[in-house]
Symmetry: D2
Subunit: 138 residues, 4 copies
Amino acid sequence: MTAEGHPRVIETDFPVRYAETDAMGVVHHATYLVYFEEGRSQYMRDIGIDYADIEASGYQLPVSEIGARFASGASYGQRVRIRTWVGENRSRRLTFNYEVLLPGSDDVLVSGFTRHIWTDAQGNVTRSPAAWNAILKG
Amino acid sequence: MTAEGHPRVIETDFPVRYAETDAMGVVHHATYLVYFEEGRSQYMRDIGIDYADIEASGYQLPVSEIGARFASGASYGQRVRIRTWVGENRSRRLTFNYEVLLPGSDDVLVSGFTRHIWTDAQGNVTRSPAAWNAILKG
Amino acid sequence: MTAEGHPRVIETDFPVRYAETDAMGVVHHATYLVYFEEGRSQYMRDIGIDYADIEASGYQLPVSEIGARFASGASYGQRVRIRTWVGENRSRRLTFNYEVLLPGSDDVLVSGFTRHIWTDAQGNVTRSPAAWNAILKG
Amino acid sequence: MTAEGHPRVIETDFPVRYAETDAMGVVHHATYLVYFEEGRSQYMRDIGIDYADIEASGYQLPVSEIGARFASGASYGQRVRIRTWVGENRSRRLTFNYEVLLPGSDDVLVSGFTRHIWTDAQGNVTRSPAAWNAILKG
């Protein structure tokens, strides 16, 4: 479940925000899920999908499961880099994997995944829409 | 702009969450706007309005202006108390005032206001709906 | 990994905050980690530990791993109830389990766990402090 | 209090995050304070100050007052641009002004300010440190 050797890994990086830190002086663990989401958004944008377009086309991709491991923490004053790739793409669900690093280093601070299900606008589970799926398959 | 002498002041209190602190060890300043919102929600509930009902009836009360002064900060391990009262209630806008204290103390940590405009579901400014206004007037 | 039959399950409940919702109209998935944290804080308070005291005694309990499954979402206007219990208590790590429900219902919206390691104030892994451990063992 | 004509206005822009939206479908108002903070951080970085360095040198710049006006909201799928400039620089306090726009437009969605006081690491108010002040004066 590492990025290495994966055919399409998208990276994005941005500064840690002060509001994202907590009293331990490092980024609060829940924030990494927001970083994952931003990695996923960038992944979508890079392959030509804006998630807003998915919603506009009558579909949603809510999160059904998450997992993350925390080896080390980022601090205010640092940038973080998010590596995102698709781990699994089935007819009704889609899994993204993530690694968070400091730019210029190969040490993974946090790794994790988010699993999503395809639903219609009413929230009923549906098959992955062919148009979006073709783009995701790359 | 203090709560004293005001005919209807609603209080609610809850523990500071760890995620709400920042690297200075105290609650991040943006969090107090969320505390204000929770004070406002409690105010609404206490007078018999759930903001979800306002939205369900086709109206919205978006925030048009905010202001706050920070005298001192709350920490994890403390509870905060939010005092909320209506400062101004005009045909198209509504202002709530707030004070944040530690329970058992009269020292105001943070004070502020949020100003709201009445809009329909499409976001067009509208007059305050009579039904809600009657309840707000008390 | 359900609460049922567990010797000590602590519950706390509070209203969903508007800021915690997202454009899907339900609570954003990252927020549930903050709810878990609030469940854990209440657990600690109920057994006589304030996490602030743990930090004051020179220890920390950073999160090393998390996992969660999302069956359904809570909305603004609802209260959420968090059930928290200790799943595993080893010499160097501690796992809390969580369920999020709507009060008055047994349907679990979200379930999950957070795994923690004991460290000193410098962040070095250490054995669980005897004093805290005795209280956690109950 | 607009950016126009101001000698040093720093801009930064980034995508709206899904977690930052609320059930109205737009960015939650408290998030703009985090955007302001990110504008201020970029301002500092651009003139050669990292706020982490200020803290490391024994000073803090806590927020003492904020104000903001909301004309319109940004949505997921859009980028926001933050314009930041120093509005007032006195011996014991410092005011930053902000405008939030969509890149490519001159319509200001949100404008506001944050006022800060200089304190030492213990939180006692102090005069602005000469070294930092010289850089801020430009």
